[in-house]
Symmetry: D2
Subunit: 162 residues, 4 copies
């Protein structure tokens, strides 16, 4: 069985609207990235929502948890905005058992030249295959347990809380 | 302790010489990639050679093995041309014990627009942190044990031999 | 004598602030673009301001006109936000005589992957060398006289008004 | 009437074959570049050949000249390898009269990250619209008359011969 990939939006998939200068969501770039990485892991991609994580509600998190529980796969990657990624990780840890769930995202949109998204996706896929069941955040080349991670707002870097 | 990264060349680091149209090696792009990925894993980069892996000799492999044994770190990434990556993996498996060694590379040079190098580096860093001691190849989003991997020359994809 | 290049900001030079997700100005990317284009035309670059053209005041336009009149060169390129580019062109046409002034910009920031900025710069440099004295807008591969151009807000494309 | 664009190959359109590490030709990237530049000049693109300019024969040049003479348009751009671009310019100057013919190309393939191709195309389109009938080379942000141009092999830069 392969890896399930859930798309929820975040900087990862933002695009530049050249008519009004705003960032917005269109489609996910997940398939393009997997192709660029020449990925051969069997994956199933599903877009659950396309939102900024600052606007994610608990109803949204409930939906993500439900999808994680329902899906056949035991290895799950979730793309997510970085601002509330650790909050969603905590939420999922209470609901999703016996599965390896890895949340990841990007500081720079994939469509912009110098994104960290492809790097993060490569590491998230690897962590999903090798870490024991649990909920993790994969950013900055590292993985963090759901109960020991926060985004440092000053530096934009993920770090342990303890 | 962090991760040791050994550079040996390969497509990963090739550049285009605009004066003669040939591909060649200058410096490694490893630091740029780690910066783009916003990597915060402590790494130590050392360039051992800058060669096409079809030109790699057993003396070269001996040197790589020696460096793997000598270095302090127990988690090692080696960038390597894809053509003889599995051969070097076998060689290292005989010599390097009790360390996690992950060989990776790229099908497209990093300097060209659509390289798989950043994706592969992300996965290699993650595998190096999570896999038990042994020698592995990380390509195509997957990891392979040294005794069960080859590059399919027709497709350019890595696959199991068994 | 070479070509004078005045920088005023606009989408051309906008960057993505990964800490707050806003677009902002840092330095101009003009030198990098000229290097990428292997430009050998003698140019003198000066940054006059770094602003969104919707925020450009008539005092700003007065400053630009003054600089165009004062500088030694008779061929001038001005990078400018697209929203009020035609307005500034009209303003300059009344003040700057006997010089070839070409305004250009970009619909997508240069720092993002798929910008039109390099293309526009190539055409602006060529138009500055070949058009007779006057004030022009160079966008979409075309040149427009200052008194016959507007940006179509629906399509983002420049077009004649007459 | 618009501009005719003839494709002949050269570094401009080369791609990297990841299976054997060689550069090769597939299709031209002209349409993609014009779209990236948001070009609105009416153009007609035709691929005449896809070859390295060092392999271009006088029969090939005869074919190009014939196509320039035959086509309806009076403004013509030819993409061409840089090594014999000035030689083809001389050949065309003898055969094609009363048309503005602009040869251009690239030092770095368009498919690689840092190509000069988009810049050169922008300038070639502008020169084709503004220069009087004659045969020209457009490279390095400049235009050269067919009888006063050569590529400096040491620097890769085009320069006057006189």
């Amino acid at each position: 069985m392969g890896i399930r990939i859930f798309i929820t939006g975040g900087t990862f998939d933002k695009e530049y609207n050249e008519l009004n200068g705003q960032l917005y969501f269109k489609d996910t770039h997940m398939s393009d990235l997997l192709e660029m990485g020449r990925n051969r892991i069997d994956v199933e991609i599903r877009t659950l929502m396309m939102i900024d994580s600052l606007e994610m509600t608990n109803e949204d998190r409930e939906l993500i948890a439900h999808q994680c529980i329902q899906c056949e796969e035991n290895q799950i990657i979730i793309t997510h905005g970085t601002d509330t990624m650790s909050l969603t990780a905590k939420w999922l840890a209470e609901k999703v058992k016996n599965k390896t769930v890895v949340l990841t995202g990007a500081m720079i949109p994939i469509k912009f030249g110098s994104s960290d998204g492809l790097f993060n996706l490569g590491s998230a896929l690897a962590f999903a295959q090798t870490l024991p069941p649990g909920v993790y955040v994969a950013m900055n080349g590292r993985y963090f347990h759901w109960d020991n991670v926060r985004k440092n707002r000053q530096t934009g870097v993920f770090e342990e809380t303890k």
